[in-house]
């Protein structure tokens, strides 16, 4: 349990190290989770999730989660591997629709409108709620075409000049333009991992979404590339609502304003990032951020 010391250094004021928690204790604690600790709601939310359950076939992956995503805010989702962070994030732009066995119940709204109705077109929804994935996944197209793809299919640019403008400004905002401006025709896959991830971010913001979902966007990147993307997230917050899944507590502490802690499909605790890391209310949260499991 030596890792918790480093964590203590990074996040001052963490609770003192306790005895290692046994699995039985965890299960017992989980059963005892009733509702979520902390305030799940915010004023004038961008997105609202109410009583969301997610099933993969018969297996339940998310249990009765209530959570709001605020405007111009980064919310971080943390929790041990397999606790359902990705699953929950993918509910927000209906990416789970693409998995046939996946079933989502409860209500999820964007600007007060339910996104899970038949009338809501997933194509339109995904144009409004963009997503950046864990592994950089540029298209097998040129850098330019990668970024231009979204605007093209949605018809966001009236002419070539406008498209150029969108592509260049998106690349600039993703902090990639200077590195690639001389080779916009090169394949997107020819970039380094960190550049590819910034390309994916540029591609997402080129559609000018209202919400950006990021699923461990930095897990494949080195610290320098990570720092650039964190900076970028901070800038993007001015215009977008951002939900980010991360395994790095430091990253959550650095980029987010609110943090949600998930455990085995349940939302255990939500709160201001500062509060969560300095003064977690729930034992599970405390154990996790002090590095006792996960």
């Amino acid at each position: 349990m030596s890792t918790s010391t480093t964590l203590n250094d990074i996040i001052p004021g963490s609770p003192a190290i306790q005895e290692s928690t046994k699995v039985d204790d965890v299960t017992a604690m989980l059963d005892s989770i009733e509702g979520t600790v902390g305030t799940t709601r915010v004023e004038n939310p961008k997105m609202e999730m109410r009583e969301v359950d997610v099933f993969y076939a018969d297996k339940q992956a998310i249990y009765d989660v209530d959570l709001d995503v605020a405007r111009n805010e980064v919310i971080a989702m943390i929790g041990p591997s397999g606790c359902g962070k990705s699953t929950f994030l993918r509910c927000l732009n209906r990416m789970n629709d693409t998995i046939p066995i996946c079933r989502v119940t409860g209500s999820i709204t964007l600007d007060g409108v339910d996104i899970n109705t038949r009338e809501q077109d997933p194509v339109l929804l995904r144009a409004r709620v963009g997503m950046v994935f864990q592994k950089p996944n540029p298209f097998a197209k040129s850098i330019f075409d990668n970024v231009a793809y979204g605007p093209r299919i949605h018809g966001l640019a009236a002419n070539r000049a406008e498209l150029d403008e969108i592509v260049i400004s998106s690349l600039k905002r993703a902090g990639l333009y200077d590195e690639v401006k001389s080779r916009l025709d090169a394949p997107g896959t020819s970039l380094s991992g960190g550049q590819q991830q910034r390309l994916c971010i540029a591609r997402t913001i080129a559609v000018n979404p209202e919400v950006i979902l990021m699923d461990e966007p930095c897990s494949a990147l080195d610290p320098i590339a990570t720092a650039r993307i964190e900076e970028l997230i901070d800038e993007l917050r001015e215009n977008y609502a951002i939900a980010i899944v991360t395994h790095s507590m430091q990253q959550a502490a650095r980029v987010s304003q609110r943090t949600a802690y998930f455990h085995l499909g349940k939302l255990v605790e939500v709160g201001k990032t500062n509060d969560i890391f300095t003064n977690p209310q729930h034992d599970l949260t405390e154990n996790y951020i002090t590095g006792r499991f996960g």
Partner: protein, 426 residues
């Protein structure tokens, strides 16, 4: 620590031995298959050599109008029906005046191909003013003569080279050779003519064009259908019992003997829809049935191999299912789909049985001009020639196989080129 080292070290020798043993198996296996292939190729190529040569005999023909049986200023019809055979026979008698006996004369006449008449006819048609003059021209020789002079250098001493030419005939050939009246060159006829009963006049062109038409139809029918089916099954179809049944049946279809497809073509297209018999149109459709499963299966594999992250990326940007497939998945799967298509078409190119069933085994002299003209195909031509009694057809058969293999090589080269182009983009 050290114990691990020891244990591993002890087993290292065994592991390396296993590896080198396996390499040896591999090399032996490859050598065996390569030597079979080499044997096959060498024997076929060797046997085909005479078919690529054509021998001609130089004769001085007397184009006397009377001998030709035409008037002083004949019209085209008269020229077409003139007595060329008599003129050529006369020229041969002139060349060898000692030949008197009827049987010997007959042997002498058989040195020149019946095709020589048409050569002579075309020669006169080109310039009718030669009528009434004496001309020295090269005329196509008989296939036995061609076979012998390409096989041995001295026709009087042939060892045990099989030939039907008598000693007397070989003597005449020798005389002609001494006077430089025999020449052997590349056999253009083989590539410019259709089938013929006379080996020296038989060409591969009709079959080659027939095969090309058939393959064109096969490609046009099977490629779009198979790719559409593969895309639907792989990307859009729900997974349920019906799609399982379809999948199993497609796999079974790939194993159905090809002659069954021929029977189907006969029953459905010819007897029911009354489409023309022997036409590349039907041949192509029937072969498409055979190629379909091959292309579907390989296309599905290629589509499946496209990483899911690409689909997610496109969907995450708001691309519809169709856009995801056509903008991203299909281009990435294209090299694999093309490979499958070429394999399917190569199979179709070599297929004989179904074509026999739908009458593409007919004796085709004319080059097919469209997909509804009667035609034959390369493998059927091979089959036909291999059945002919004349020795020269043995060489023709091998030569047709060489042409068939050449066609395959060209097709594969095109496929590799296309694949490289698709791949090089990324």
């Amino acid at each position: 620590m050290s114990s691990t080292t020891e244990i591993v070290q002890a087993s290292l020798a065994r592991r390396y031995k296993a590896e080198s043993r396996f390499r040896l198996y591999g090399i032996v296996a490859i050598s065996i298959s390569l030597s079979f292939l080499a044997f096959l190729l060498i024997s076929i190529t060797y046997k085909s050599i005479p078919a690529f040569y054509e021998t001609q005999v130089q004769l001085t023909v007397n184009l006397d109008a009377e001998k030709l049986g035409v008037g002083a200023s004949p019209d085209i019809k008269a020229i077409k029906t003139a007595n060329y055979s008599g003129v050529i026979k006369g020229a041969l008698r002139e060349q060898f005046p000692d030949v008197k006996k009827r049987k010997a004369k007959k042997e002498l006449y058989s040195l020149v191909s019946v095709g020589a008449q048409y050569q002579l006819r075309d020669f006169i048609l080109e310039d009718p003013s030669v009528i009434g003059t004496e001309q020295t021209i090269w005329l196509i020789a008989d296939d036995e003569l061609n076979g012998l002079v390409t096989a041995v250098s001295d026709v009087t001493d042939i060892g045990d080279t099989p030939t039907r030419l008598s000693e007397q005939q070989r003597g005449w050939i020798n005389t002609l050779q001494q006077q430089d009246q025999v020449k052997t060159g590349f056999n253009y006829t083989f590539f410019s003519a259709g089938d013929s009963r006379e080996p020296e006049l038989a060409g591969i062109k009709a079959a080659l064009i027939g095969s090309a038409w058939v393959l064109l139809v096969t490609f046009l029918v099977s490629f779009p259908v198979a790719v559409a089916a593969a895309i639907y099954l792989e990307e859009f179809a729900p997974t349920n019992r019906w799609t399982d049944v379809i999948e199993v049946n497609i796999n079974n279809l790939a194993a159905v003997p090809s002659i069954v497809f021929g029977l189907l073509g006969l029953a459905v297209f010819i007897n029911f829809f009354a489409l023309p018999r022997s036409a590349p149109l039907i041949g192509g459709i029937v072969l498409s049935l055979m190629t379909l499963p091959t292309i579907i299966i390989s296309s599905r594999a290629a589509l499946k191999a496209v990483p899911p992250s690409i689909r997610e990326a496109a969907q995450g940007l708001g691309a519809s299912k169709v856009q995801v497939v056509f903008h991203h998945v299909l281009p990435l799967a294209m090299p694999g789909i093309l490979t499958g298509t070429i394999i399917g078409l190569a199979q179709a190119l070599g297929e004989t049985a179904p074509l026999l069933m739908i009458g593409m085994v007919a004796f085709i002299v004319d080059i097919p001009q469209s997909i509804v003209d009667p035609a034959t195909a390369l493998p059927v031509q091979v089959f036909l020639w291999s059945d002919s009694p004349e020795r020269a057809f043995v060489a023709k058969t091998s030569a047709a196989i060489v042409v068939l293999l050449g066609f395959l090589v060209v097709m594969n080269a095109v496929a590799v080129f296309l694949r490289k182009r698709f791949e090089r983009r990324w």
